[in-house]
Amino acid sequence: MKHWYKILGSISLLYACTFSLYQALDPALVVADTTQLRSGYNRIELAGHYTHFKDAQTTAGIRVGEYYFQGDVQPSDNGKIAITLDLPDTLPSNAILFKAYNSIDGELILNQACSIGNIVLDTAATDSSWVKNTKLEKYSGFGFPNLPILNETIRNLMWHVPMWFTMFFIMILSFSNSLKLLNLKESSNRLEKMLKFDMRSTLLNEVGVLFCVLGLLTGSLWARYTWGDWWTNDPQLNGALVVFLVYSGYFILRASIDDEDKRARISAVFNIFAFVLMFILLMIMPRFAAGLHPGKSGNPAFSQYDLDSTLRAVFYPAVFGWICLGYWLYSVRIRAKRIKEELKITED
């Protein structure tokens, strides 16, 4: 059963792709149409995503410090709800949170910058009619987290991050082939073995660079919708681009040497150097600089707190699937190369 990884990889990739694109997100409040509250009458419109304002009996209001002011609600559809709210002249806090609750979506909270306008801030203010805020149960269904800014782009987690896992996996294989090449003992078929390892590490690098490019592209797309630009000055981004350039240098170096034996040895040396450089650029350098990637300033990757169980259920199969696909690509490349060489021999 040498094809087991292809079957398992295809299944998990199919599962991950389907789920990452079709699974709904958790319900969440996205935006409120006001940035300033006034004393007296306020009308606030809240927009929700995957919410059920109309299907279920919804209550909504604002949370000010430890108090909760509930308004009269008027859902226009499942994604929009208008609140009319009567606010007092003094409030004990200016920490405003928008809040909505219904039986399907659970408690929804939106933390959006909002000033208190002409309302006087007095930390001692209190009134017997004010209601203390109570914590209600959250949405407990199966869905991807619906986080501010990220929103739907959280699906890219299953595409962008596995690319780098796959690249690392492929590059480690290539690195080990280069090490084996340099450690070959003197023997009659030394050159033959050397060329075998050389071919392996070159083709692995080709696949690795492909995944590096895919990672950069998916990352660039993600950056556009979360950080606002196709390219941002982030150590991880710059490092990834330099990794791409270093491995391009590997292919240029190979192209400039004619002698097979020399080419195998020199490109193996450069490959080892490039791998160490990649490790420094992607794993060590980002720890020394501030950046935008999650878990920054200390940890360049996702921390255990960033993934919830729904994401894990799709993310790990995705990583496994992409790694299998990467190795499959390499095995196809190596077979094509062998056939080409055999054809060349028979033609001669």
């Binding site: 330099v242 270093v246 400039s256 040497i257 040895r265 020199i266 420094i280 650029l281 350098m285 600089a289």
Partner: protein, 220 residues
């Protein structure tokens, strides 16, 4: 150790004998800094100064490396095989070129402070700046010596060094530019130490990697 010293002295004596190469690089540093002065006159932004300084430093380093292994082209590399181990040759070359690049960068600091007044330097701790520049120069010299040995063995031309050099030197340049900007803005040792540690780590990694890898391709 003796072989390293002799090879180091050989490099120095060769350069003293063919002074035009050395003066060519010195002239390059002088003219680029002067060109910067002609168009800018003053620099207020420490980021601009750091960028210009390392552009001059990087290209001076590439210029200096042009002759490192290429001067062995007419068969003297075969002579080196018989005289010393590849590691010894590499250490001697790396030490010499790291020192040369350090001297060039110190000269360019001198020229920049000569042309661009004292305002921008007023907050700078000179000791820290010299330490950062020394660490950077030694690191650039080590990495470039390894790469030019590699490209000399590949096809004997110096242009490959430049192609491979730009991406490989990027980690150095990332940390060098940020550390230099910090120091120019008056950062204390506490703030700059992270960058310094990174620079020292990069230098050590390159040095160890090179020492490990050089014997594998030197005798081909």
């Amino acid at each position: 150790m003796k072989a390293v010293y002799i090879l180091f002295k050989k490099e120095f004596q060769l350069d003293m004998r063919k002074k035009q190469l050395l003066f060519g690089i010195l002239l390059f540093v002088l003219s680029t800094v002067f060109t910067c002065y002609l168009s800018l006159e003053t620099i207020e932004d420490s980021k601009v100064l750091a960028a210009l300084f390392w552009i001059v430093g990087l290209f001076a380093a590439f210029n200096a490396m042009q002759k490192s292994f290429q001067q062995e082209q007419n068969g003297t590399d075969k002579l080196l095989y018989t005289l010393a181990s590849p590691r010894q040759v590499w250490i001697a070359k790396a030490a010499y070129y790291a020192l040369l690049i350090l001297v060039l960068n110190l000269l360019s600091i001198l020229l920049f402070s000569l042309f661009f007044g004292s305002d921008i330097w007023s907050r700078t701790s000179m000791g820290l700046l010299l330490l950062a520049v020394s660490l950077g120069s030694i690191g650039l010299g080590t990495a470039l010596t390894f790469l030019s040995a590699l490209s000399f063995k590949a096809n004997g031309s110096a242009s490959l060094t430049v192609v491979l050099g730009f991406p490989v030197l990027m980690p150095f340049l990332f940390s060098l530019t940020s550390v230099t900007v910090n120091i120019l803005d008056g950062a204390s040792w506490q703030v700059a130490s992270y960058g310094m540690m990174l620079l020292a780590g990069l230098f050590l990694t390159t040095a160890i990697m090179s020492l490990f890898l050089v014997p594998f391709f030197w005798k081909s």
